[in-house]
């Protein structure tokens, strides 16, 4: 049963465009994350938020910016996408135990 929702499922765009991905969790968790899964299927954390506060900000290009309106939502905006941004972006949430609950992912293709 899905409790972490991501939209869109897929997005195809051209270099230089701006994209936004949405994530919502209905689990009542305080912490949310964005991960990037590259072509080698490696999952790497990008950001984590706890109660709307940015906690972890890994080394990602500045064109990536997370946005959190409340603890149930964590969106990801990419300004001026690059070809290397093509990947699957996974949103997750966790309770205080840090056990991760993942959304289905958003596959981004940059042409």
């Amino acid at each position: 049963e899905t409790a972490v929702f991501q939209t869109p499922n897929y997005h195809v765009t051209q270099v230089g465009n701006e994209v936004s991905f949405n994530c919502k969790q209905t689990l009542g968790h305080d912490t949310m994350y964005w991960y990037k899964q590259d072509s080698k299927k490696l999952l790497k954390i990008m950001f984590s938020y706890n109660n709307k506060q940015l906690i972890v900000n890994e080394t990602v290009p500045r064109r990536f910016s997370p946005q959190s309106s409340d603890k149930a939502h964590l969106n990801l905006r990419i300004k001026s996408v690059e070809p290397e941004d093509s990947a699957v972006y996974l949103c997750a949430s966790s309770p205080s135990s840090y056990e991760q609950y993942f959304g289905p992912g958003t596959r981004l293709t940059v042409l």
Binding site: T2, T31, Y33, Y35, K40, K41, L42, L43, K44, I45, S48, N50, I55, V56, V88, L90, S97, Y98, E99, Q100, Y101, F102, G103, P104, G105
Partner: protein, 108 residues
């Protein structure tokens, strides 16, 4: 550097047999989680352990923080167990590091 080393990268099993996946950590981890990627690409939670072992059906997982490893044992493998399995370790400070995954293929 890489903090989680997962092995093997690929594994083939015949139905009814079993094996183990392993994740070694370069540092002390607070907890470990195991996932399986389903046919739709979603990550399904299998286990979350802060210590010790857990068992669920034909799957069993162990985590030794001091020795810096975790294992996932599969017994009596079935065709539907095929997929990619990931371990993920909690380093602390809201940070989780994933292994590179194990592609499991179960054949008749």
């Amino acid at each position: 550097g890489d903090q989680v080393e997962q092995s093997p990268s690929a594994l083939s099993l015949h139905e009814g047999t079993g094996s183990a996946l392993r994740c070694n950590f370069t540092t002390t981890m607070r907890a470990v989680q195991w996932f399986r990627k389903n046919s739709r690409g979603s990550l399904i939670n299998l286990f979350y352990l802060a210590s010790g072992t857990k068992e669920n059906g034909r799957l069993k997982s162990a985590f030794d923080s001091k020795e810096r490893y975790s294992t996932l044992h599969i017994r009596d493998a079935q065709l539907e167990d095929s997929g990619t399995y990931f371990c993920a370790a909690e380093t602390g400070g809201y940070k989780v590091v994933f292994g590179s995954g194990t592609r499991l293929l179960v054949s008749p």
